[in-house]
Every structure is written in structure tokens, then in C-alpha cells.
Symmetry: C2
């Protein structure tokens, strides 16, 4: 079936047919708006993240696995809800369709998005579809909820709290280097499993939703956020919101040995990749030192491991302890959009 | 100030500073997600609409009035909430910034969006900002609410109900012709006030929110929707959802005398413009004949007038009564995105 043959309403119907729909949805795709039930005693969480071709991804990265593009477009939003300690519930998808984009590609993108939606219990309840010359767009809006007053904000970190993170860092950046080709020697030096893990981290990051639920459930986590823009940037944002400073110990930031090896081959510092690479979508939280073991014990058995990477301070400076033991200002290394 | 000088975080801070914020917002712009209070006894309404340069608008249309672009991006979403009989509450804005777009233009776009947000009591609580080669994007996500179970769906029309509409049709289409230049004779034939009204309708349509509230408040409206895709398309959608047919009387569809004149000068049928032109963002509803006067009496004094343009039928055909009195199938004339 050609896209031009089915029209916008045809595409919406086709994509809407398989949309996951769970309890709480009164009206899904097909009216002026979706209608969902509000639940008493809960706060709503609202977020959106755009994935634009040429900015956030190259279409050829996904030519063999369009499903991962759909998965990522939702995952980055689920990650934001996880970063509040909430649960994702309802999603709307704006799709920009450039000329020549194949219907099969679009269907597989949505299949991947729907798969993750099912894994997370998210209903897909609406969206907008637009033929558009400027490249493929996937803009996902996600609504979730959390116990009233229970959202874990960036502003909750207190001096003396330790900085805890899930999983490992720098992997997405390694994946980007691998996708770009990297030095020819890499393919023989790398374990195939690692290359796949690194590329997958970039193409469709994990969602740390169970980890976030467990962290929030302890009642012992003062601040929580995801690290989409990079670990260093997120530490700075938490410090700014909390009126605190921090010291991050570069030697404690978890990175796979292979990530260190790849960074070395690329002539870069693994610590830089881990701190500034971004796109790892791990969690970062603030926990009192005496509660770290309790929090760790509350994590699901197969969860991404928790690591302590430093602490928040009353001194407002945001510092990095280098491998040599010295202190230097922690950079922000914001991605430059303009 | 140059856009490149302030970066993404700088732009977000600048735009966020003036964002309207009303009761119910616990956390606005600046954390992983917005946090808003859910209200017991209400259903949530969720919708989104993308405005993309080159598809929905040309940037030069707004060169003298960027505020209207921001106003329209929100207005088309408010119109969807109005079409459910609900009230708009919380908005997130995804902004795509092409190279060379001036900061002053962006600020004025947001000023216009914020103005309409204030008029409607909408809090702007989040968004995403992306540097993007493919043209300017404004994707607005709007959450609203309505009494639980009280949303006015497309599926509620019953055979025998009359079709009522607000305001007048074909005006946006006339505005489009005027923006495109039209025949040279137009400028002297037209009242200046009409040209301004037509262009304004296209650039920033009215929001029929008070009208929708009044209609919903009567409890006598069986189905309600907005007419963004055109009156004919919306009648067809309501019929499909309601399992009914309809007869629309072309002679009853309200259009300004000047719209008829402009259509004539353009060699088109005013009835075609009114039925298929789209972008008028009026309301369409289903009301029993004996309740039309009651409903009309419930409208605010300065509201857009209500007109009866036909009726829903048990025969599933969707028909147009032509000025000559004959019946022909009502077309859908969907905008072709692909």
C-alpha cells in the first residue's frame, strides 16, 4: 500500500488500530481530544520530547530497525516520568512524514512505540499526522501520575546527601562513535556484544521505570531526575534547583571497561564521555549516606545497579574530583541547538 | 541578543519567565515534567496539534504579527477542547527553530500564545526547544478537563437532531485568497474591515470557548465538535461516529455577504468555500429541534450566532441540498497531506 493512496485519515486509522489502550481511557484516538479518567489523590505529570531527523537521529541508523526509533521516541518521555518517581499513562504522537517515507517504515516505527507502551502500561490515545518536507518528526506527549505531593523534584537535594546513579555512563556516546564508523581497528578489538549494547543504548535507551519506582517507594530519595542531557549537566541542574553544590568523583562514575577502551581508541577520555556524552537515560538521585544500603536493598533483583558518584555540598560550587585527586569545576557541556 | 548567544537553556529561561501559571500547577517549566493537580470528579482531555512552516503557514504571513502565529498554535488546540465541552488548563509547547530565525520573532510568537493562554486561563507548564533545519515548528499539547462522563462526543448525534453551527464559514478561505494576492480588482471592491477579518480568521482563528461552555451547560447538545477540517468533513465524521446520516442545506450555511462576493470574484462557489474550505474553527453540534430556541437563549449575549444548517437522519447517506433544491452526496475534501 502506498502512503499517498490511503491519505491522512487512512494512515491515522491504520496506525490507530493497534494502539494499546488500558483502563482509564474513555475515548482514545478519533474524537476532538482523548478523554481519560482523573484519579483522586494523584498529581498529573506532563512532558513532551521531540525527535527530529538530522538533529536527534539519522534515518539510516534505523533503516534495519525502525521499531527502535518508535521505542526511543516514547522511551525518552518515559524516562522523564521515571525521573519524577511517577508512572506513565497516556501518550499522544505527532508524526511528521517527509516525501518518500515508506508506509512500512512508519508502521514499524509505531510497532516499536506500541511495544514499549505495552511494556509500560501506556495507552496511546491521540496525535497528529502531517506531511512535511523538513524531515521525519516524532513528537511524543506523555501524561503520567504520581501520589499527590509525591513527585521527586530536582530541588530536593540537601547538602550531605550522596549522589547515586543507576547503570553505566558513556555507553551511548560509544554507540554514536560506532555508528559513525570510528577507527577501522575497532571492529576487531571490540566484543560484538558490546558494540550491539552501545549502539542499542543510543538507538533505544533503556527505561529505568522499575528502578525509579523502587527508589521512590523507599521514601528515602530526596531528589530524582534522568540524565538525558548528560550526568554533569544534570548534577548542575539539581544543584541549581536545590541551592546546593556538589563534588562528583570522576573515578566513581560507572562505565563499562569496553567504554573506557573505546574512548581510549578514539583519543578521548572515558570520564568525559561518561560525564558529558549524554543520551544515557540513567537516573540520578540524592540519598543520605546512612540510607544508601537500605535504598540499594529495595531495588528489584535484576535492576540496573546503583552507584555512589559523589555528594552534595553546602558550598555552592559544582566540582569534579579528577583521577589525579585535584578539584576542578564540573562543566555543563550543553548540546548546542543554535 | 542573538539566539546563538543564549543557547537552549537561555532560550527556555527567557520564554519561561513570562509563562502564565494558574492554580493547580505544582511544578511548571524546569523539572523533568510538569506536575499539576488532578481534580476529583473530572475527566481529563488531551490533545495536540502541530503547526509546521510550509504546511500550515508561511512565515512571511506572520512577519508583521508573529503574535498571531503563537495565538493560532494554541487556539487550534483550545478549539479541540471546546469541541468536547471542556475547559483548557495546561499547555506544553514544542518549538522547532530553523537557522536564522530571530529571537525577537520567537519572543513575539510566545507573547501571542501567552496572551491567549491568559484569556483562557491556561497555564504553560513545559515544552521542548530544538534547533532544526526543516522550517519552524510549533507543536502544542493541551490538557483540559470536563465533568466526569460529560464530554460531548462525536458519537452522540441522533436521527432527527438538527445540525447547529456557530459563526460563519468560508471566511478563512477568503483570507487565504487575500493573502495569496487574489485578482487585482479585489482591493478596491472589498471593505478594508472585511479583508482584515478574513485574514485574521486564517492567521489566528477565534476560540469558541464561551459558546462551547454555554452549549454544554444546557445539557441539550448531543454531540459537539469543532470544524477545523471543514464543515463537510466534520458532518461526515459525526455521522460515521453516530451511525447516522445527514442532510446539509447549502443555502442555510452561514457566510458573510462579502465572502460570497469574494468567492464569486475568484470564480468559486461560496457554498464550496463554506463547506470545504476548512480552518474556520467554528463549532458544530446536534440538538433536538424543539430545543434549539432554548439552546440559543442560553448563549452569551455577544457570542457568535447559532444557525441551523440541516439535520441528522436515520438514512446513513450524508447529503447536500443544493441551492437548486436537489440532493447530492456531501464531499469530504480532506486536505491531502501525502
Amino acid at each position: 500500500v502506498e502512503l499517498s493512496g490511503i491519505g491522512e485519515m487512512g494512515l491515522i486509522r491504520l496506525l490507530g488500530r493497534d494502539a494499546p489502550r488500558y483502563a482509564g481511557v474513555r475515548v482514545g484516538i478519533g474524537d476532538d481530544t482523548a478523554v481519560v479518567r482523573a484519579q483522586a489523590g494523584r498529581d498529573l505529570l506532563l512532558t513532551c520530547d521531540l525527535m527530529a531527523e538530522g538533529v536527534h537521529f539519522q534515518r539510516e541508523w534505523y533503516s534495519g530497525c525502525p521499531e527502535l526509533l518508535g521505542r526511543k521516541a516514547l522511551a525518552v518521555n518515559v524516562s522523564d516520568i521515571a525521573g519524577m518517581g511517577g508512572r506513565p499513562l497516556y501518550c499522544l504522537v505527532t508524526l511528521g512524514v517527509p516525501p518518500g517515507l515508506e508506509l512500512d517504515f512508519i508502521r514499524r516505527v509505531y510497532a516499536g512505540l506500541y511495544d514499549l507502551a505495552r511494556e509500560c502500561g501506556v495507552s496511546v490515545v491521540g496525535g497528529d499526522t502531517v506531511g512535511f518536507d523538513g524531515g521525519m518528526l516524532l513528537d511524543v506527549f506523555l501524561a503520567g501520575d504520581v501520589a499527590a505531593g509525591g513527585a521527586l523534584l530536582r530541588s530536593g537535594a540537601r547538602p550531605g546527601d550522596l549522589i547515586v546513579v543507576t547503570g553505566d555512563f558513556g555507553l551511548a556516546r560509544a554507540g554514536l562513535e560506532l555508528l559513525k564508523g570510528g577507527p577501522p581497528s575497532w571492529s576487531q578489538d571490540l566484543q560484538e556484544g558490546y558494540a550491539a549494547a552501545a549502539v542499542t543504548r543510543l538507538l533505544a535507551p533503556p527505561v529505568r521505570l522499575r528502578e525509579a519506582s523502587a527508589l521512590a517507594g523507599t521514601g528515602l530519595v530526596h531528589a530524582l531526575s534522568d540524565t538525558s542531557d548528560g550526568l554533569a549537566a544534570q548534577v548542575s541542574l539539581i544543584c541549581e534547583a536545590s541551592g546546593a553544590g556538589a563534588v562528583v568523583d570522576g573515578a566513581l562514575v560507572p562505565a563499562r571497561p569496553e567504554t573506557r577502551a573505546v574512548a581510549g581508541l578514539a583519543g578521548a577520555s572515558a570520564c568525559d564521555w561518561a560525564l558529558y556524552g549524554g543520551e544515557d537515560y540513567e537516573l540520578i538521585g540524592a540519598v543520605r549516606a546512612e540510607h544508601v544500603d537500605l535504598v540499594r536493598a529495595a531495588m528489584p533483583r535484576d535492576a540496573a545497579p546503583l552507584a555512589v558518584v559523589g555528594g552534595f555540598t553546602s558550598d555552592p560550587a559544582v566540582m569534579l574530583r579528577t583521577p589525579g585527586g585535584g578539584l576542578e569545576p564540573l562543566g555543563k557541556a550543553e548540546y548546542r541547538h543554535f
